[in-house]
Amino acid sequence: MSDDALLEVRNLRVDLQTSHGTLHAVRGIDFSLRHGEMLCLVGESGCGKSITSLALMDLLPRNATRCADALRFKGVDLQTLGERAMRDVRGKQMAMIFQEPMTSLNPSWTLGNQLCETLRAHTDATWAQARDRAVWLLEKVGIPSASERLNQYPHQLSGGLRQRVMIAMALMCGPDLIIADEPTTALDVTIQAQILHLLRDLQREFRTAVIFITHDLGVVARIADRVAVMYAGEIVETAPVRELFERPEHPYTRGLLECIPVPGKTAPGQPLQAIPGVVPNLVGTLLGCAFRNRCAYAVEDCRKAPPLAALGPEHGVRCVRAGHISNAPPLQPDESAKSAEFTPASRLPAKAEDEPALELISLTKVFRLGRGLFRPPWEIRAVDEVSLRVKRGTSLGLVGESGCGKTTLARMLLGLMPPTAGSILIEGKKIDTTDSAGHRALTSRMQPIFQDPYSSLNPRRTVFDLVEVALRLHKVGTPESRKRDVGEMLDRVGMPARTHHQYPGQLSGGQRQRVAIARALILRPKILICDEPTSALDVSVQAQILNLLLTLKKDLGLTYLFISHNLSVVEHIVDEVAVMRGGVIVERGDCAQIFHAPRHPYTRTLLASILTPEPGLGVPDIAGDQRTED
């Protein structure tokens, strides 16, 4: 195995010095990579996957130190190379693609300059030669009119195009290894499919090995040759892609696979198998298995650190119960979902009550830009005559890619932005969001849940205060009754009493989102506007929050408008779907109809770009309309 290995990592450790102590970000990992192989490092945030890639490139932050028994790349141990020799490896033999295409290119230099300087730094190519190669590669990565693009600056390109440029840049010197760190996470689903397709094609054509870092098991299934699952700085399981998905032997791997909704596989509306708890703090010394306090299969032996057991020639698992996990019986759903009794026919309540809880009639928002003194204004119709009805007690999913107008729509609904035209009806009554009485009436009936749990809670208020302030603003109850009500609500969303006097800075992302839900529900609204409520969360936490939302909907008879770009989540949680593009609803209908018999071509494109965690299907070939991308 080590003869044809391009890269061999033995016992790599990375420590970070933080104000709380030494954080062991990577704790002794081993892996190897063959020429032309695609290895996926998968794990949730904070598991050490990005740090691993930076350690390979020797680009760790100042407060980090790495050590390893071996870091052999093409037969040379990278640890023995000085900064100068390492610089020759970087960019020439080992290139990198980062997550954020919007910030990964230098805004002050042209694309041509940034592409060519890579080649010029490593070879004695002339500018003209470098330019020729840049044009050739830009065409390879599917950028139209490549030679003109060379004189453009990064801000003149869309995110998808910039990521293509980043790929071209990585290929400039024909490297043996490309490390791609979440290269498609910041992109829309259709663009993601295109970029993955491109990456896979180029990897085969140039026979380049790729280390692909991602948190998305759907992506892993479609592009990986081999997978390494990371948890708390360790590789807990490694296997060829098919084997891993068909026979996951680490409880964490199995948990990850079971906690994501998969259209056509998981039963819609049913609770998901969430992984309880949170990732442990990596400051301090490891005692035993890192996963054992979240593990349903844990035994007494887990107090001792398990070795990486070999289950097959290429299948390693770091678990004492390896070999018994994949065929163990399925577990009960997590406790936060228990309070609801789920009936098989939970979707579309049989009640003949068709009265809409929320109705939008020709809602329109026009932004007038450049309202300067001397410039003719021009308009953007962000939301264009959108009419929707959400029946009481049901949920409507609003899906679309970035810039389609879904967030503007939500802001108008919440009274955060006056509509240009059209009206909003709640339970048949027209609401005027611009006057304060109308806005007040609106706020007690409809509440939001936002995307980013880090910015949705005022850091200067305690958990209790965050929820209570809503009651105080509406002058509801006495201090005692408020204390009781807030306590009950926090209890309902699963916030233990000891957290009630903590500040948001002391909470995990999932806990924060629970507090945001409690705050939204404390005024007993009937409608929740959920704007991407789980897209900033790790998948195991996402399952917890989705379960909570399903339970609350059932228990409190809530109506949801669920805005998301994640179609799998939408399919799991909603009854009806509206697909939005360019400010208009292009298709709407029953969830099953949309997912099984989509009519509009854009809906079909969107559905085709869903990457379910099914290995062997490959990346769908989405015919991207390049012109819409500039």
């Binding site: 400051v283 301090g284 010394t285 306090n293 844990a298 800075g505």
Partner: protein, 307 residues
């Protein structure tokens, strides 16, 4: 959960699972302050000067206003002609230099703190309004800011002081109505950022009024950066007071002020350099200490963001 008789252990696999169980914020802040060397030095110097200013009537060896013309320009103790009676010597009127320094500290500190309280109130109020409301309000406030910045503080203060006559009260009012620009710039910038935060949208969705949002949601989040600005601006005000007094349009004699002491000593500095060096060094020490505290506050509060 107990499907096959197993349990989820409550203990963490790590010895120190502290991520979500941290000590309270103020305690972390104090720990960081204690570890910040520059800030500790600044706090120490500042503490001594503040203490000396408060205790000035008790510890001054002489009456700062008592003139003894026969002993004028006595050099300080380290000088060969110096003596223990006047440790830091006397000025051109024979007033004890040490006593005047101690009382001068009071003038500097009072003017610095009071004028910044005025300018801080103006600047923060305007900054939060401009940052939160934006649009026309922002444009108007920005126009006021440009007007203010296009007139140099020293020039305007000198011209106004010549009209109004120099005194402690005039200096405080002048600086109070001139030094709000930095408060405005900082509070507007931070408010603008916060305005986009989702918790402001959440508060609006709960029906909170703009006033409530500005006072209860935004202002508490401004405290950190504003404390930094306030300390640095106090230092700025102290320097300006010294400059005005040096130019003869600030604090008027016989009241002791460090800037004034330099001005009064200027004529004698070629032969008695200590006469300008002593008050100057005191000014440098005081302003340095305040700046160190301000920089320290910036470092210490900057870390107090997300985990």
């Amino acid at each position: 959960m107990d499907s096959d008789g197993l349990h989820i252990p409550e203990v963490s696999p790590f010895e120190s699972e502290r991520l979500f169980d941290q000590p309270p914020a103020w305690r972390r802040l104090i720990t960081r302050v204690l570890r910040h060397r520059g800030m500790m030095i600044g706090l120490a110097i500042l503490g001594i000067i503040v203490l000396a200013a408060i205790l000035a009537p008790v510890i001054s060896p002489h009456d700062p206003y008592a003139q003894e013309l026969s002993r004028r320009l006595t050099p300080p103790i380290w000088h060969e002609n110096g003596g223990w009676t006047y440790i830091l010597g006397t000025d051109k009127l024979g007033q004890d230099y040490l006593s005047r320094l101690l009382f001068g500290a009071r003038v500097s500190l009072v003017i610095g703190v009071v004028s910044i309280m005025i300018s801080g109130t103006i600047g923060v109020a305007l900054g939060v309004l401009a940052g939160y409301l934006g649009g026309r309000v922002d444009a108007v406030i920005n126009y006021f800011l440009t007007v203010r910045l296009s007139m140099p503080v020293i020039l305007v203060a000198l011209a106004s002081a010549s009209v109004l006559g120099g005194s402690v009260k005039v200096v405080i009012l002048l600086l109070g109505f001139l030094l709000w620009d930095r408060f405005l710039i900082v509070s507007r910038a931070v408010t603008r950022q916060l305005r986009e935060a989702e918790f402001i949208a959440a508060a609006r969705s709960l029906g909170a009024s703009p006033l409530f949002i500005m006072l209860r949601e935004i202002l508490p989040n401004l405290l950190g950066p504003l404390m930094v600005v306030a300390t640095l601006e106090i230092a700025h005000a102290i320097l300006l007071e010294a400059t005005l007094s040096f130019l003869g349009l600030g604090v008027q004699p016989p009241m002791p002020s460090w800037g004034l002491m330099v001005a009064e000593g200027k004529a004698y500095m070629f032969f008695q350099p200590w006469i300008i060096l002593i008050p100057g060094v005191m000014l440098v020490l005081l302003v340095l200490a305040i700046n160190l505290v301000g920089d320290g506050l910036r470092d210490v509060t900057a870390l107090d963001g997300r985990n």
